[in-house]
């Protein structure tokens, strides 16, 4: 126990020292962090309040349907926390140098497991916790809930809910590591990705939000008699259902019906913690050894991938310096499974999004609704582009790593290196963004003006998001961090992502009025002047170019700092 406390004490001291450091960059980082996180928390709070008020008071969807939507949202939240923990978990529990160090000390393996689990949980769930709490505050304030409701819900309901997701992640991982030794890590990761995608698809297929709305609205306002039919049987056994039920009965002031769901959550968490502790005692060390052995075995059995054009010794296709950088980056990417697997996963999600969009009937008769549908799809596109940029562009400078000495001591201008990174990233991000924009707009409403609008706006959005992520990634560069996923989930990355969301919200706000006018003219008069869309495009161009210039300036200065 003393060893455990000592390690946690060292971690807490290190964390506090990093917070209290008075170095200029650190003070700026912490101050910006407070402003941005605070701003976003306020935004989510207001959004939660506004959406709840709109759905309950304006759209009259009723408490039941609202809480079913909340349950679905919580499911996505659960899967995100779970997946986030699992992705970071492998690096934290199995590949971290700290674990290697701790394994050499007289500390029980299950304690090392606990230390790294806590580390992993807070690292990978921090931003999501903030979003969850802000949403809860907004939701609760709409219902005028008393202070103890928040206190109780945060510590006794939301925290266990997230811990369940975290425990499930590490337990599954321990089992998977053992299987990975048999079938290989690449196959295993492919199976995990497939299973997760199937789970998300199956959940929404069974709980079908469209069908849910149709069924409820058919019998509106007497929806309560359909309560029993609407819950899929398996959904009752999921933690998101228990949280939404707890909230549903809490806002009705029925503690007797709310508390059983809280107890179910806590008992499940306790059971999982016991099982995880048991598994950690029996399997953690063995799976850690198996993981190390498997990595060594993979090296032995490795059959090199040959791409003649990209071989270093072959004829150069580009100028020598760029050729060397391009070949290096491609090989480092292809040889790091966490990089290409994550890319495949993201591209799969994008495909699912486009296919789902194709199956939805979104040519609506009401101008405002049509405008909302277009903007929601556009916003989602932007969100996906922001996610891709965060995951792959933000870590680009950090990935130079400790070996940056070789580049910095070579006759290569760092400005040139920065722009090389920018153009490569911009080309890839805008290719993804434009493909999404065209596909989504054509499926939504095959109107050349709208397609052109989406393409131009996405171009500017890609420019702004790429430069923001590269600039901030350069400013917050962590050359010592080898894992790109950890770089992309660091404090600086979270701030950048939240800023990106603010930027996207601004872009959408600029588009609302002109688009609604455009749709009104189109739907009512059959024709619409395109001049309605020129002005917002100009505003978006100015904002995006401004961000591009600012971010590039910061990034260029940062990449030239002492190494």
């Amino acid at each position: 126990m003393r060893a455990l406390l000592l390690v946690f004490n060292v971690k807490a001291t290190t964390f506090l020292a990093s917070l209290s450091s008075l170095r200029g960059q650190n003070v700026f980082k912490n101050l910006s962090s407070v402003i941005i996180f605070g701003g976003v928390a306020l935004g989510v709070f207001l959004l939660a309040r506004g959406v709840t008020a709109y759905l309950i008071q304006e759209a009259h969807i009723g408490q039941f349907l609202y809480h079913r939507f909340l349950s679905m949202l919580l499911y996505v939240f659960f899967v995100t926390v779970n997946l986030g923990n699992m992705i970071v978990c492998y690096a934290t529990l199995y590949r971290s140098e700290e674990v290697t160090f701790l394994m050499g000390l007289p500390i029980a393996h299950e304690k090392i497991f606990l230390i790294k689990f806590v580390d992993n949980f807070f690292y990978s769930s921090g931003t999501l916790t903030l979003l969850g709490l802000s949403w809860l505050l907004g939701y609760g304030s709409f219902y005028y809930m008393p202070w103890y409701f928040y206190f109780f819900t945060i510590f006794a309901v939301l925290l266990p809910f997230m811990l369940i997701a975290g425990f499930v992640a590490v337990m599954v991982l321990m089992v998977l590591i053992k299987i990975a030794v048999e079938i290989g890590i690449r196959w295993l990761l492919a199976i995990i990705v497939g299973t997760y995608l199937t789970a998300i698809y199956a959940y929404f297929k069974v709980t079908n939000p469209v069908q849910l709305v149709e069924e409820v609205m058919k019998h509106y306002p007497n929806v309560n008699q359909y309560f029993g039919y609407l819950d899929a049987p398996f959904a009752r056994y999921l933690p998101n259902h228990w949280v939404s039920e707890f909230l549903y009965w809490s806002v009705h002031g029925d503690a007797a019906r709310a508390l059983p769901h809280f107890f179910t959550l806590v008992i499940t968490l306790a059971a999982l913690a016991v099982v995880a502790a048991f598994m950690a005692r029996r399997y953690y060390y063995r799976s850690w050894i198996a993981s190390s052995d498997a990595r060594a075995l993979v090296r032995e059995r490795r059959s090199p991938l040959r791409l003649r054009l990209l071989e270093f010794g072959e004829r150069r296709m580009l100028r020598p310096k760029i050729d060397a950088l391009v070949k290096r980056d491609i090989w480092l990417f292809l040889r790091e499974p966490s990089q290409w697997l994550h890319l495949i996963l993201m591209l799969l999600l994008l495909m699912i999004f486009v296919i789902s969009l194709g199956q939805m009937e979104l040519k609506l008769a009401q101008p405002l609704l049509q405008s909302v549908a277009f903007l929601v799809v556009f916003l989602f596109n932007g969100f996906l582009v922001a996610s891709v940029s965060l995951r792959f562009v933000f870590p680009a400078v950090s990935l130079e790593g400790d070996t940056f000495w070789a580049v910095r001591a070579a006759p290569l201008s760092l400005r040139r290196l920065y722009w090389y990174k920018f153009w490569i990233a911009f080309l890839l991000v805008s290719a993804v963004g434009e493909a999404l924009a065209v596909a989504a707009t054509v499926l939504l409403r095959n109107d050349p003006v709208l397609v052109a609008l989406a393409v131009v706006c996405t171009g500017f959005v890609s420019l702004a998001l790429t430069s923001m992520n590269l600039g901030a990634g350069s400013y917050f560069a962590a050359y010592r961090e080898k894992n790109p996923i950890r770089v992309a989930s660091s404090q600086g990355a979270s701030m950048t992502f939240l800023l990106a969301l603010v930027y996207l919200a601004t872009v959408v706000a600029v588009l609302v009025l002109p688009l609604t006018t455009y749709f009104r003219n189109l739907i009512i008069h059959g024709v619409a002047s395109t001049s309605w869309v020129y002005l917002p495009v100009a505003v978006i161009a100015v904002i995006s170019t401004g961000l591009f210039l600012m971010a590039s300036r910061v990034g260029l200065a940062a990449i030239q700092r002492d190494f």
């Binding site: 170095r23 090296r299 270093f312 010794g313 072959e314 004829r315 150069r316 020598p320 310096k321 050729d323 060397a324 950088l325 070949k327 290096r328 090989w331 480092l332 040889r335 790091e336 790593g401 400790d402 070996t403 000495w405 070789a406 580049v407 910095r408 001591a409 070579a410 006759p411 290569l412 201008s413 080898k482 002492d562 190494f563």
Partner: protein, 235 residues
């Protein structure tokens, strides 16, 4: 060939290097000594452009590293104190990469790699990924990368750490040969016997300041006294 003009490096209120001035002529083997934290690595990092001096200037082959970094960097090869490599690239790929950054034609890089493989006995592991390398293997690859473009100046931070006796001998012989060919070598190390064996001149710094500068000639050698001098000056 190498010139430091009143170089200062401050990190906040801490002064790591304090007004250091040195001139090292062509073909000289220069040993840079000092206790831990004296400012040796900081000085080397300023020479190689990894740190920017707070004041003063570092010149290599007549080029100011801050004002004309590309010209300066073309003329030196650098071996850092920690031989970091790209874990997912092989030694050969790393050498091609560095050669590309120095704009050496591919055919020339190929020839140079073959020479270096031979010289440093890299055959067994040159095509394996760096993640499989020992410290000594990494050190030999990094040294090869510094010699790849046949530089006029070699800046080396602790070149013999982690090397087995045979590899250490290879490195020492190579460095001696390079100085005979006219290359200037700036070497920082804690191994005093190596300094006595190899260096024409030594300088000792303490708390960022130069406290001793001495040239070894045929008539005046350290004769095993360097350790005593070092301990006396740095106590």
């Amino acid at each position: 060939m190498i010139e430091l003009r009143s170089v200062v490096k401050k990190f906040g209120s801490f002064t790591a290097v304090d007004g250091l001035s040195l001139t090292i002529p062509r073909g000289q083997f220069f040993g840079f000594l000092g206790p831990n934290g004296a400012g040796k690595t900081t000085t080397i990092k300023m020479l190689t452009g990894l740190y920017e001096p707070t004041a003063g200037a570092c010149l290599i082959n007549g080029h100011d590293v801050r004002r004309r970094p590309l010209e300066a960097k073309r003329s030196f090869g650098y071996v850092p104190d920690q031989p970091y490599l790209y874990e997912k690239l092989s030694g050969r790929e790393f050498l091609y990469f560095v050669g590309g950054l120095f704009e050496i034609p591919t055919a020339t890089i190929r020839e140079r790699i073959e020479e270096l493989v031979e010289r440093f006995e890299l055959q067994r592991f040159i095509d394996k990924r760096a993640e499989e390398y020992s410290q000594g293997m990494r050190q030999r690859i990094v040294l090869s990368s510094a010699l790849l473009h046949d530089p006029l100046v070699l800046i080396i931070d602790e070149p013999l750490v982690g090397l087995d006796p045979r590899s250490a001998r290879l490195v020492k012989d190579t460095l001696k040969q390079k100085t005979r060919e006219g290359t200037t070598v700036f070497m920082s190390t804690h191994l005093l016997e190596i300094v006595e064996e190899l260096c024409d001149r030594i300088a000792i710094i303490k708390d960022g300041r130069l406290i001793h500068d001495e040239t070894q000639t045929a008539a005046r050698t350290f004769n095993g006294q360097l350790e005593a001098i070092f301990l006396e000056l740095t106590k």
